[in-house]
């Protein structure tokens, strides 16, 4: 057991820390469009410094970073409070899927503009009637004259109004068992047959969108991983999404915890024995999230792929963030009711943490079935 960084890991972290201090883009400006452009510029800056698509193999324009370096990258980005690069979905999900399942032509066409931020990607998986039960989705793709015509509705598509490409899973075989009749497409968003409508959340922000498709056209060469293999390809995407969350989310909640402790000190709440116990418990859980992530990383390095235990940090992170914001609002007292207070916003936003990227219930199912080997529900 050795939890110290090697000299090269240490050097990497110091270099990155220095770079972030010198190149930090500052906070997002107000307004969604301005914030978007700000993050796009940031993405390009990261790309030019070789920090975009950090985990991607070198041959595809990435850096071929080790898992430890990736974790350090996430920690340092969170530590510096740097905004995420704009094309986060393309880099974390789209790119890795194309690298794993795509043809040479597809890699040539799509990978580089993801890294530069030139082409934004969004994700069309969930539907109004297919959330956790993703494989039951109904959006239909029919082949006609060598191209696919897609009709249906998607929901929770972040950045759909800005995206050039959509990672879309659609049903291509109505008669096959539900997991087998699906195909993974990359759909061009710039066509009239695709309509985007903002979806306002409980925070009153339109962070997500609804997507309506009426015979939207997708050329055959935009199928990734073969017709009928959509489920397997989609699972790769989700595994990447969850594995990528561990270390950086731990760093994120650690910063939130420091902010909470400052709030408690300012308001004299840190002397209150009940609040003290809650702050200590959060301190412990934030540290455990970090330790579990690093232990999980050691396991991935030994076995080569992210395993189902990658579901633990996502679950923990959601609970910590929710409790943390509750304690903050408890400390604020009646002022916690005020709309526009940052903690009040975070209290509300955190309620999505146990839903987005796999609900806590689905994560528990995965742990029960794949880690503990309990009998399947269905």
């Amino acid at each position: 057991m050795d939890l110290t960084l090697s000299p090269s890991e240490q050097a990497f972290r110091d270099e990155l820390r220095t770079w972030l201090a010198e190149n930090h883009p500052g906070e997002d400006p107000p307004g969604d469009d301005a914030a978007f452009e700000h993050r796009r510029t940031w993405q390009l800056k990261l790309f030019e410094a070789g920090y975009a698509g950090f985990s991607w193999p070198k041959e595809y324009g990435g850096r071929g970073a080790t898992l430890v370096e990736q974790a350090l990258f996430g920690e340092e980005m969170a530590r510096a409070k740097a905004p995420p690069p704009v094309n986060i979905l393309g880099m974390v999900m789209g790119g890795p899927v194309v690298i794993t399942h795509g043809s040479d032509e597809q890699k040539e066409r799509w990978l580089r503009p993801i890294l530069t931020g030139e082409e934004i990607w969004c994700q069309g998986f969930s539907e109004p009637d297919s959330g956790s039960d993703l494989a039951s989705l109904k959006t239909k793709a029919v082949k006609k004259n060598g191209e696919w015509l897609v009709t249906g509705q998607k929901v929770w598509t972040t950045y759909a109004h800005k995206a050039k490409w959509c990672m879309l899973v659609a049903r291509t075989d109505q008669d096959a068992p539900k997991h087998q009749g699906l195909t993974y497409f990359i759909m061009d968003m710039e066509q009239d047959a695709v309509q985007v409508r903002p979806l306002y959340q409980i925070t009153k922000e339109p962070e997500f969108n609804e997507l309506f498709m009426e015979e939207a056209r997708i050329p055959d060469e935009n199928v990734v991983g073969g017709v009928g293999n959509g489920w397997a390809v989609a699972i790769t995407t989700l595994m990447n999404e969850r594995a990528g969350l561990g270390a950086s989310s731990a760093a994120g909640v650690r910063i939130a915890l420091e902010e909470l402790k400052r709030l408690a000190a300012e308001r004299g709440a840190d002397e209150d024995p009940v609040i003290r116990q809650k702050l200590a418990q959060l301190t412990i859980e934030v540290e455990l999230l970090r330790l579990n992530s690093w232990r999980g990383l050691t396991q991935i390095m030994k076995r080569g792929v992210p395993g189902p235990e990658g579901s633990l940090p996502k679950w923990q992170w959601g609970e910590i963030n929710q409790t943390l914001t509750e304690v903050a609002v408890e400390i604020l007292g009646e002022e916690g009711a005020y709309w526009g207070s940052p903690w009040t916003y975070r209290l509300l936003r955190s309620r999505a943490n146990s839903i987005e990227g796999g609900t806590t219930e689905i994560l528990k199912n995965i742990i029960a079935e794949r880690v503990l080997g309990l009998p399947k529900l269905r």
Partner: protein, 340 residues
């Protein structure tokens, strides 16, 4: 960065697991617990293997290994629920190692390392009594730690009164004593390692209770299907995994700090003991719920785990006391308090 045991450490873990599984089949644990005894023959065997002195320096007759090796044994001792005076003796060794004078170490550590003249540790309360001192009636030396200072007391000079606790796998005593000599060094590094060791034992207990639950949930059928296929049951088991793994990460980390990052040790150990104390109890109570009525019977083994987990949680500082120390140690100000 490698958050896993080395090959040598893996070998220690494997050997310990196999040996303890052989010596402490549940029938044997039950027999010993019901008789209020520990296994003298097994203790002698472990002494010959050098277990009690695993972390004690070779100059005092130990093996000169570290805290990580110690907690590997502790986790397996918890998993096997071994009725042995191992923890009490190790606690004395850890505290003496940290706080004892050269003469005190010279005098007591060899007996602790060989297991032939055991020690134990008690935390004095404000009324001058240590309430929960494991195996004090068979130890040669008792370290009594209080807010006003600490003393090294020979057993014959102390008032030792055995007391029945809910955990029958250990013999506890109440202890008073003003005799002996002061223990003057910094005991925090010692008691922090004790906390890490207990957190590891709780991890082992939680692991076993979880495994028993998963096995039962696979086999037991109600309404025509295994109860583990119901989410009310399977999500409980997932929660057990979350808490067991958390306790494991925390105790391993604290032990590693004990060997490699002594400045971080007190905070890491308080975190581990606080979390594992809660996790040990919650995993065991959840296991009882999964087992239903049979889990509430004396004839089922689960209650021995549940009770040891509860008493481990109280021993050498509760979750609440350790959380208080975490609040103090992790506050932006100068750290001041610790548990013991």
């Amino acid at each position: 960065m490698n958050f896993d045991f080395s090959d040598d450490q893996q070998a220690i873990k494997r050997t310990a697991k196999e040996l303890l599984a052989e010596r402490f089949k549940m029938e044997r644990v039950r027999e010993l617990a019901e008789a209020g005894k520990y296994d003298d023959a097994a203790w002698k065997e472990l002494c010959e293997l050098g277990w009690p002195g695993i972390f004690i320096g070779e100059e005092h007759g130990g093996q000169g290994l570290g805290t990580v090796e110690l907690i590997i044994l502790m986790e397996e001792l918890g998993y096997a629920l071994a009725p042995l005076p191992f923890l009490s003796n190790a606690a004395a060794g850890l505290v003496l190692n940290a706080a004892g004078s050269d003469e005190q170490k010279e005098r007591w550590l060899p007996g602790i390392a060989s297991g032939e003249a055991r020690g134990t540790v008690g935390l004095l309360k404000d009324d001058g009594e240590a309430k929960l001192v494991p195996h004090a009636d068979s130890a040669e030396v008792i370290l009594l730690l209080g807010h006003e200072g600490a003393r090294v007391v020979e057993r014959d000079q102390a008032e030792v009164a055995p007391v029945d606790t809910m955990d029958a796998t250990r013999r506890f005593c109440r202890v008073r004593g003003d005799a002996g000599e002061p223990l003057e060094g910094d005991r925090i590094p010692g008691i922090s390692r004790v906390a890490a060791a207990l957190a590891a034992e709780l991890t082992g207990i939680a692991q076993r209770a979880m495994e028993m639950s998963v096995e039962y949930a696979r086999d037991r059928k109600q309404f025509g299907r295994p109860i583990g296929s119901y989410q009310a049951v399977s999500h409980r088991c997932a929660q057990m995994l979350l808490e067991t793994e958390g306790a494991r990460s925390a105790s391993y980390y604290a032990a590693w700090c004990g060997d490699a990052e002594p400045d971080t040790l007190p905070l890491a150990a308080c975190m581990a003991k606080a979390y594992a104390s809660d996790a040990g109890w919650r995993v065991c109570t959840s296991a009882l719920q999964v087992h239903g009525g049979i889990g509430f019977t004396w004839e089922h083994d689960l209650h021995f785990f549940l009770k040891r987990a509860k008493v481990d949680g109280m021993l050498y500082g509760s979750a609440r006391e350790h959380r208080d120390a975490v609040a103090e140690l992790s506050a932006p100000r100068e750290p001041a308090a610790t548990v013991a």
